[in-house]
């Protein structure tokens, strides 16, 4: 499986796709963080729970884009036809999917770290520029990057498994986007008791930013790992069973 992992890592490194995604993610992090930090009235930014609105976009967008990385790792191969030479070289498809899970998880960790770093750096600077004291404490500075990396590492296999099930690239990317930014917001607003168990909310919980609404970080990471395992397993079964066109 080392051979397949090395091949998958080279796939990630040898196109500009990931760089484009990384820049797109950074742009969205800056936009969301700056809009909230600069335009919310100062009296809605003075407590730690208020400032969640600023910093939460780091881990959220890190997880989203890690999901996209995972989804593209499989749907891109199906779209461009490289899945054929890939499976000819490694007809034991389970190994291919496992290597993809690991490789996209590693890439996801980088995305998570970059997203959280950008959100904390830019958010803190913007708040400081307005004279609003930053309410992040010592544990936040550990949990935010660690949680952001864990959330992104686990969202990559979720995207991958979903991509292996749906196979269509655009459908998979749209589904991930809609789920994280639309469906989960509705769930959290209208049925918060259930919404906090959703995979995006579980990812956000790992950072410990919003303990009132979300699960405890340890529970969040366990739940998200479960989602990742189930989705990746379903995607593996689909890849094993289906014919390649």
């Amino acid at each position: 499986m080392t051979a397949q992992l090395r091949a998958e890592l080279l796939k990630h490194r040898s196109t500009f796709t990931n760089l484009g995604l990384l820049l797109g993610m950074l742009g969205l992090v800056l936009l969301a963080v700056l809009l909230h930090a600069l335009s919310l009235p100062a009296d809605r930014l003075d407590s730690a729970s208020d400032q969640v609105e600023v910093f939460r976009f780091g881990p959220l967008l890190g997880a989203l884009f890690a999901g996209l990385v995972g989804a593209l790792a499989i749907t891109g191969e199906i779209r461009h036809g490289t899945i054929r030479p890939t499976f000819l070289m490694t007809p034991r498809r389970g190994r291919v999917v496992a290597a993809k899970v690991l490789a996209s998880g590693l890439v996801g960790i980088v995305f998570g770290l970059v997203a959280v770093g950008a959100a904390v750096g830019v958010g803190s600077a913007a708040l400081a520029a307005r004279g609003v004291p930053v309410m992040l404490d010592g544990s936040d500075y550990t949990l935010l990057p660690a949680g952001g990396m864990a959330a992104a590492a686990l969202w990559a296999p979720i995207g991958l498994g979903l991509g292996a099930l749906l196979r269509n690239q655009v459908a998979t990317l749209v589904a991930i986007f809609l789920w994280l930014f639309f469906v989960e917001n509705l769930l959290l607003d209208f049925v918060p008791g259930a919404g906090r168990f959703a995979p995006g909310a579980a990812a956000a919980a790992i950072t410990g930013l919003d303990p009132d609404r979300l699960l405890a970080p340890a529970l969040g990471v366990l739940l998200l790992a479960l989602y990742a395992a189930v989705t990746a397993a379903a995607g593996t079964i689909a890849a094993l069973r289906r014919d390649v066109a």
Partner: protein, 263 residues
């Protein structure tokens, strides 16, 4: 594993090639397709197809569009599962081969590349997965004359260059069996000439080629024998020399068989 290469090829000498090869390769057929059937819902793509290929031959796999050629090749290569019957390479299912890239090379589509990846990186990815040394990538880039373009992204390649890159990928593991689906598409006359010479030399080393095509004139110049199918069923499998010995052309035989099937 590599018997002496012969210098010149003439169709009359084909019969003499076999005995020398018998020492190099086991008698077991390189490809054996037995009672192979593939259905997609109600559509029958391949039905009860049986044929086999011996080492050291170039076989043309012929049939009208939609005859089931591509489906058969995908079943042979483990990309699709048969509904019934079996398709074996070297006596095994493709998925069960230990290092498949070192036994079998295949090109199924002319454009199975990521457009944003360079030709060299495409081959390196495949070489890593199959644990083939990196030096082999450079050897193949030289063989298919893509060294100058190797660092460029595949989206800038012409169709002929893509065909050659695909072939380089199939040859990475120095396989004993080469399976090509419609390799003539998009090749210019010089490219065609090059491919024909390459396939001949490949077979003369005791290795085996299965090449699907519907360009009969091209096939007639390249292959030792033909397997003709239509609507998923075998029509005939015959050495080309036998046809010419009877004073028939491949085109006459092909059109007679496929027309007879249609009426």
């Amino acid at each position: 594993m590599q018997p002496e290469a012969r210098t010149e090829t003439q169709s009359g000498e084909q019969a003499r090639r076999r005995p020398a090869l018998a020492e190099a390769a086991p008698r077991e057929p390189v490809i054996s397709v037995h009672a192979l059937t593939k259905r997609y819902g109600d559509v029958v793509a391949v039905e009860d197809l049986t044929f086999s290929l011996e080492a050291g031959t170039v076989t043309g796999f012929l049939g009208p569009n939609g005859a089931g050629k591509t489906t058969t090749l995908r079943l042979l290569l483990g990309l699709a599962r048969p509904t019934a019957g079996e398709a074996l390479v070297f006596g095994c299912r493709y998925r069960e081969l230990d290092s498949p890239a070192r036994r079998v090379g295949a090109v199924l589509e002319s454009n199975d590349f990521h457009p944003g990846r360079s030709g060299r990186d495409h081959l390196r990815v495949l070489a890593l997965a199959a644990e083939i040394p990196r030096s082999r990538v450079e050897e193949l880039l030289a063989l298919v004359e893509l060294e100058a373009a190797a660092g460029r992204r595949v989206k800038t390649y012409s169709l002929g260059m893509r065909q050659r890159l695909g072939l380089a990928g199939a040859l990475l593991g120095d396989p004993e069996l080469l399976i090509l689906d419609e390799p003539a598409n998009g090749l210019d006359p010089a490219g065609m000439h090059w491919l024909r010479g390459f396939l001949r030399r490949f077979a003369e080393e005791g290795r085996t080629v299965l090449v699907s095509s519907h360009v009969l004139a091209e096939v007639a110049q390249t292959v030792d024998r033909v397997v003709i199918i239509d609507r998923g069923r075998l029509l005939t499998t015959v050495p080309l020399a036998e046809l010419t010995g009877r004073g028939q052309t491949l085109e006459e035989v092909y059109l007679g068989l496929t027309a007879g099937e249609a009426s």
